[in-house]
């Protein structure tokens, strides 16, 4: 599925300074029953966001109008648990294009890159600075520059982040792996003939 090209993203951010945010929190299993990729944003963080009867929980950050933006800033080990790509879909569908944390679970990171969400891994100290800046002023903007591999607190500190050249190229152009793999079909076919399985 095509996604928006990612070049520079300048936005306010939503802070979620909780460690080990797992994919069951991002999208609980009971909302995985769709056969199409639609509407997952409505149930993003469902059980943290709503009471059982659907009333919004006032103390949850997504229900606090002070915070908004296209960047979600999470605590260490963001996205642990299940391989459900629905977690990344829910984050994308809600309107986020970038997740910042000091550590990401592997499968979540891959899934995000595959659908056009940029996971930006920063140092723990820089993450702490971001949380403090947003706490001091919820209108604080972050700027994520993919070409330069740099994330900045606008008007403040910045840090570089890593991404492999292949994925960076894909994100900047909105390409995905499926198209690339189609171009290798000949190689794959001859590889398969050698397999003992």
């Amino acid at each position: 599925m095509a996604y928006d090209k990612f070049t520079i993203l300048k936005s306010t951010a939503v802070p979620m300074p909780i460690e080990n945010v797992d994919t069951d929190q991002i999208i609980p299993a009971r909302f995985l029953k769709a056969t199409e990729r639609k509407g997952f944003g409505d149930n993003l963080f469902r059980d943290w966001r709503y009471e059982g009867d659907g009333t919004p929980k006032k103390d949850f950050v997504l229900n606090n109008p002070i915070y908004s933006g296209k960047i979600l800033v999470g605590g260490k080990n963001f996205g642990s648990g299940s391989s459900r790509e629905h977690a990344a879909w829910a984050i994308y569908d809600y309107g986020f294009r970038c997740v910042v944390s000091s550590f990401f679970a592997d499968i979540f990171k891959n899934n995000s890159l595959n659908i056009g969400i940029l996971p930006v891994q920063v140092s723990e100290s820089f993450l702490d600075q971001i949380f403090k800046a947003i706490e001091a002023n919820p209108k604080t903007e972050l700027e994520v520059n993919l070409a330069d591999q740099k994330i900045s607190i606008v008007g403040g500190a910045s840090e570089s982040f890593e991404i492999n050249g292949y994925k960076k190229h894909n994100m900047m152009n909105g390409f995905d792996d499926i198209d690339f793999l189609q171009s290798l079909k000949g190689d794959i076919q001859s590889f398969a003939t050698k397999s003992i399985y």
Binding site: K33, D47, F104, A105, L181, D187
Partner: protein, 467 residues
């Protein structure tokens, strides 16, 4: 010139690289692809919108498990959304020529149980599935890991995925396990030492005599939970135990093909001096029956220990307090004696015959505690059949338990098997996340023996007192 000694992981990975991309991932050929009803429908939609075909339908196997009811499977599935997903799997499999063991098929069951028990999972393979517990298959010396739906579409359309090469970790456990200490305790112990993110970025090899002496069922339990410490996957070198398990299974190689495969599988060992980015060594004698008290699988302790303080755990104090608050547990409390409302035995972690044998060994001659609701869910119809044939069903019924039908069930509570809000469950599954077993449900992960002890006493109990 001597060759660099290779690890088991290197041997399997390197033999599957179709192309290495400079400053990018490897294009990895996939030998076996399992699909289920939840993470595959959107991948098939993707194929259709691009006009692509399934490149090697004979390398993909479909089974329905996540959404299936565990009672009255002969009746139509009541939840229309679940029924729709199950139908989509059936339709897509038929359309693309993929073998499908749906609800009602005698081979149906949890994907990570049916793959091995039918000889689909073999040593030296690359195996993927849109499910993080695909790591289970690593027990056979395969590189097996969970993938997202975009990657499911990649495998369907090209039999490959793009994967950065992970770092390597080796975890050794040597010595003799004490009475009542089973594979689930070993892996919960390791995760409690490494934390839920301790192996992120790594592929783990489990080594040492504890794993060498373990059954295939036990090895699957261990590898299953490698994802719970963040690892991409876990694997154990194949040996006679592995070969004996596979031989004669339906899809296993036969005759000459068997001899050829066996000769290759015997080479799948880590060589002396192979490099690992990280190594851990644990002593079997330090391991107790384990139980978790928090909301990630790293928050586990020996059953006789007290819940640690935030300072002992380290990391964010607020996150730890949130976790204990959800469980309504407190620092320094003992886990022993805590009231248990529900017991769940099953899942891709502990839903195999050996797990039910262990459970039965404790409950035999005892009765289920009156206030406990127990859900006993075999991992597959073949396991269910074994439970009947071995007389385990009689033991369960005598003790006041019922046997349900196979599926993922209360492990992730996608079907009706949900633990009610606020209730405490001792569960043999793999995740104790908030709401994992139903909104508001409180999960304590443990072995089948600890689950059995809780089921008959109604409280968290050291199973060593009952065996």
């Amino acid at each position: 010139m001597s060759k660099t000694p290779a690890a088991l992981f290197d041997k399997v990975w390197d033999s599957h690289v179709v192309r290495h991309i400079e400053d990018g991932p490897d294009v990895l050929f996939i030998d076996r692809h399992f699909i289920h009803e939840v993470t595959s429908p959107v991948a098939f939609l993707g194929l259709e919108s691009r006009g692509l075909k399934v490149m090697f339908p004979e390398k993909t196997f479909a089974t329905a498990d996540h959404n299936t009811p565990t009672i009255n499977q002969h009746l139509p599935v009541q939840d229309p959304l679940s029924a729709n997903q199950l139908k989509a799997l059936e339709t897509n499999s038929a359309k693309y020529g993929i073998s499908h063991w749906g609800l009602g098929n005698p081979k149906n069951g949890i994907v990570h149980v049916v793959g091995p028990e039918n000889g689909i999972t073999l040593p030296g393979m690359t195996i993927v599935c849109g499910d993080s517990h695909t790591s289970t298959h690593g027990a056979f010396g395969a590189i097996a890991f969970g993938i997202g739906t975009s990657e499911v579409e990649m495998v369907l359309s090209s039999q490959c995925i793009m994967q950065p090469r992970p770092k390597k970790m080796r975890i050794k456990v040597n010595g003799k396990l004490g009475k009542g200490i089973v594979p689930k305790d070993v892996v919960l112990y390791i995760i409690s030492k490494l934390t839920a993110a301790g192996a992120t970025g790594y592929f783990v090899e489990f080594a040492g005599d504890v794993f060498e002496n373990m059954s295939m069922e036990g090895r699957m339990t261990v590898c299953n939970m490698s994802i719970e410490m963040g690892a991409r996957g876990g694997m154990i070198a194949p040996d006679e135990t592995t070969f004996n398990y596979i031989k004669g299974r339906e899809k296993a190689p036969k005759g000459e093909a068997w001899d050829k495969a066996l000769a290759y599988w015997k080479t799948l060992k880590t060589e002396e001096g192979a490099f690992f980015d990280k190594e851990y060594d644990f002593a079997a004698s330090d391991i107790e029956p384990m139980i978790t008290y928090g909301t990630n699988p790293g928050l586990g302790i020996g059953i006789t220990k007290k819940i640690p303080t935030a300072a002992e755990i380290g990391g964010s104090k607020a996150s730890y307090e949130k976790s204990l608050g959800y469980m309504d547990f407190h620092e320094q409390e003992s886990m022993l004696g805590k009231k248990v409302d529900y017991v769940f035995i099953g899942s891709c972690t502990n839903g195999r015959i050996e797990d039910f044998r262990a459970f039965a060994s404790v409950i035999k001659g005892r009765k289920k505690a009156d206030h406990v609701t127990a859900w006993i869910v075999p991992g597959s119809h073949i396991v269910e059949q074994q439970i009947r044939e071995e007389g385990i069903l009689d033991i369960l019924l005598d003790a006041g338990f019922q046997l349900r039908q196979p599926g993922c069930s209360a492990c992730l509570a996608m079907n009706d098997d949900k633990i009610p809000a606020g209730k405490y469950a001792v569960s043999t599954s793999n995740r104790n996340f908030e709401g994992r077993q139903g909104p508001g449900a409180r999960t304590m992960l443990a072995s089948p023996l600890v689950a059995a002890a809780a089921a008959v006493t109604g409280f968290v109990t050291d199973p060593r007192e009952l065996i």
